[in-house]
Symmetry: C2
Subunit: 337 residues, 2 copies
């Protein structure tokens, strides 16, 4: 008899690996649809769209559609086209966002608007958005069309709401949650819910997957908000403090402001309106965030939504799909920062 020696290894960090393994094959099919359907005789369209679509995107939303379909043991291929549609909506939103925010960098690369100008980014975004609906129409489910057209309207509504709350330090936590629920979480929810539609499950399954996606989306966004005050360029593809320098109101700032004194509130007001937001102020911001536990509590909020996402899966059978979707939540929360 040979003794097997088990080496004690630390539990690995949660990662996207399980979801990527689960959805790898499907994602190849989705990528084919994406590449095929972003073509156009107008050469600028695939050129510009390809820059963003090929440029290091994680395909997180399509992977969620595929992962949820796997959870329901769906055996067809309808979800490939629909996952591509979701990615097109997401890409259209990013193109327009970068114009709205006048961003020059995304995922460490020059943005499309910087390379091709705002007009091209706006119009190619419109094209991809229309293509997304063409893909849904080809699939032919009015239920999917309803879910995704409604999500699109909610996203745009959330973007306008964020625009009107811009640089306003008085934004409340509730209002901020409403904004990110609309801007970010609505498409996560829709991406998951449509898997239940193609698998022909009941309204309860649809609602459970939508809840999973919605809560995961909020958790992702809140952790992004926290990371922006503690990361370095290597982990995020952007520098810590970008949100601060852009005067972006996020939950850490909202909590620090709410818990602040008259003096520190004035500091945040000046910083968020761009009147005093240099390196010295960024350092002071970090100090205030620590003193008020604002980043730590943003993470606590994120864990709350993460827990709700995981609980939303309780009614589905265990196995590799559920494990992968659960680990995706853990990854969202525990990303190195």
């Amino acid at each position: 008899m040979t003794a097997t020696i088990h080496t004690l290894r630390p539990r690995p960090e949660p990662s996207m690996a399980a979801l990527m393994a689960l959805t790898g094959q499907g994602l190849t099919a989705v990528n084919h649809v994406i590449i095929d359907r972003m073509q156009s005789p107008v050469a600028l369209i695939p050129e510009l769209a390809g820059h963003l679509i090929a440029g290091g995107g994680k395909r997180l939303r399509p992977m969620l559609t595929l992962g949820c379909a796997a959870l329901l043991d769906y055996q067809g291929t309808r979800h490939h086209r629909l996952a591509a549609s979701v990615e097109f909506i997401h890409t259209a939103t990013l193109l327009h966002d970068d114009v709205v925010d006048a961003s020059g960098l995304r995922r460490g690369q020059a943005t499309a608007n910087r390379l091709w100008g705002n007009p091209a980014s706006i119009l190619v975004g419109d094209f991809l958005f229309s293509r997304a609906f063409e893909l849904m129409v080809e699939d032919g489910s009015l239920k999917v069309l309803k879910i995704l057209s409604s999500a699109s309207a909610i996203i745009a509504e959330g973007e306008v709401a964020q625009l009107t709350a811009q640089r306003d330090v008085e934004t409340s936590e509730d209002r901020y949650l409403e904004i990110i629920s609309a801007k970010t979480a609505a498409l996560f929810a829709a991406a998951c819910q449509i898997a239940a539609v193609v698998a022909e499950r009941d309204a309860q399954a649809e609602e459970a997957l939508a809840a999973y996606g919605r809560n995961l989306g909020i958790a992702f966004q809140l952790v992004d908000d926290a990371i922006d005050y503690v990361s370095d360029a290597k982990t995020m593809g952007k520098d810590a403090g970008d949100d601060f320098r852009d005067g972006k109101i996020t939950l850490p700032v909202i909590l620090a402001y709410a818990r602040g004194t008259a003096e520190t509130r004035e500091f945040w007001r000046l910083a968020m309106t761009g009147r005093a937001n240099g390196d010295t102020e960024l350092e002071r911001a970090g100090q205030l965030l620590r003193e008020t536990a604002a980043v730590a509590d943003t993470m606590a909020r994120a864990r709350h939504y993460g827990a709700r996402a995981i609980d939303a899966l309780a009614g589905f059978p265990g196995g590799p799909a559920r494990a992968a979707l659960t680990e995706t939540v853990e990854f969202a929360i525990h990303r190195a920062y």
Copy 2:
């Protein structure tokens, strides 16, 4: 017996009056849908959308849907919601166009982007576009969804194509016709075609109405192009020569350039790229357009498409609806200029 004296009156100028009378009641219903569905808890959305939607728009596309439905003697109300959807797509396009062209004036009023900024115009455009699809989904016809999602993709494609042809005097007449077929005529065609869908007519009727709309749309655009070189601010809500000053390539310029000498071609090249486009040059442009008969021939082309639009109606029964749709074509061609 009393003798009746008939006074000889000149035939009245063609106008939109017949189409407006025919569709007046329906248009009130469409306007209710429009006002109702542009609402949002985010106040900026109805405020900005209302500025453009209430601001003197002719509702030409919804009227065409209603007029074509009347031609088919359709008695239902589905077309009200769909006509509103078409108007939302059109409005979204205008909002984005004004950002893309950096326009400050539309129909003699300040543009939304001038009043509320580019970001708000982009995002409210996205919202209206999503709402358009929500309205179609509520109607529930996959055929209508296919027609309008395809038209939307074609519009965006045409806009990008126009962007890449910007200020390029070498643009050919064929290419220009392709661009305006996509940018302008596709939505006219779709607005007419969907009337045949709700009235449950066959593919031939659908195609005939689409042809009517497409040819009418091209005629409208070509006459607009001509008017820009001969109108005054009162008739157009914009000054003559706006296209010239903006370096917009339109058919009069394409014809004058194609028929020009090396010297006059150089003149157009300098003018369209904005290097020499003052009042003196505008006057010279007018002279060259007359010498080459470029405006007159643009009008001849417009009449050709107008004739095709009228002929497309040949298979439908005569009566007030067909007369109104015919007069709309005549109005498009003969608008005072």
